[in-house]
Symmetry: C2
Subunit: 126 residues, 2 copies
């Protein structure tokens, strides 16, 4: 049985989320023991929202849930990798497929890359 090291991050572990088809890294979120158990039980990604201080069923509002395809833990059991099917095709609240859509150049400047998959105005206010 895997024993995750929740102590290291004061009860939270970072979870990297990667799309199983595009292989893009979609986002980073945090899990606590309860959201970890819910993820295993339901097969859909659950996180701990540091902002709202509550369990966050990703896609609970937008319908854009993340169906778990594979889960990996790292060598020292303090980081997780969720390989998911991203329902709706976009993980970011901005409507982009990935939260990582600011491409940084060597000078430290950035440009936004990629198109929006959905209009957040429509998805979150329906």
């Amino acid at each position: 049985m895997l024993k995750l090291n929740f102590e290291k991050g004061n009860g939270l572990l970072p979870a990297i989320v990667q799309d199983h088809a595009s292989r893009k890294v979609l986002m980073l979120a945090f899990v606590n023991p309860e959201s970890w158990e819910k993820t295993l039980e339901t097969g859909e990604a659950h996180y701990w929202s540091r902002t709202r201080q509550e369990i966050w069923h990703k896609g609970g509002t937008s319908g854009h849930v993340q169906k778990i395809k594979e889960i990996y833990a790292d060598c020292d059991d303090d980081t997780l990798l969720f390989i998911v099917e991203q329902v709706g095709g976009a993980a970011c609240h901005t409507g982009h497929e990935s939260c990582f859509h600011k491409k940084v150049d060597r000078s430290g400047d950035y440009s936004v890359v990629g198109n929006k998959i959905f209009d957040p105005e429509k998805v979150y206010k329906k």
Copy 2:
């Protein structure tokens, strides 16, 4: 100019590292402002070692540096994604390509997947 939110994580930001060729997620590490600047300047990944409390030029001991191909920041500027060429073909100190080599099943058990690319005894004790 990108303004990273170092305050949120008490001076440190998580950086996800992905291989540009295999598209595997290799590891997660942390950067502080100094290691971030060194990464941009040199084109090789530099982190902050939380264990040793010092700047960590990844590959400085093993020769397995990470050459930066692309860098992305996320939507709220508190997480980075480094797309790298992993010299030596393996990022993990265990010799595995990826630190994420413990595959977790729905019951919470895990099995180690993938072969070791190098023998850590030889790489770190030469």
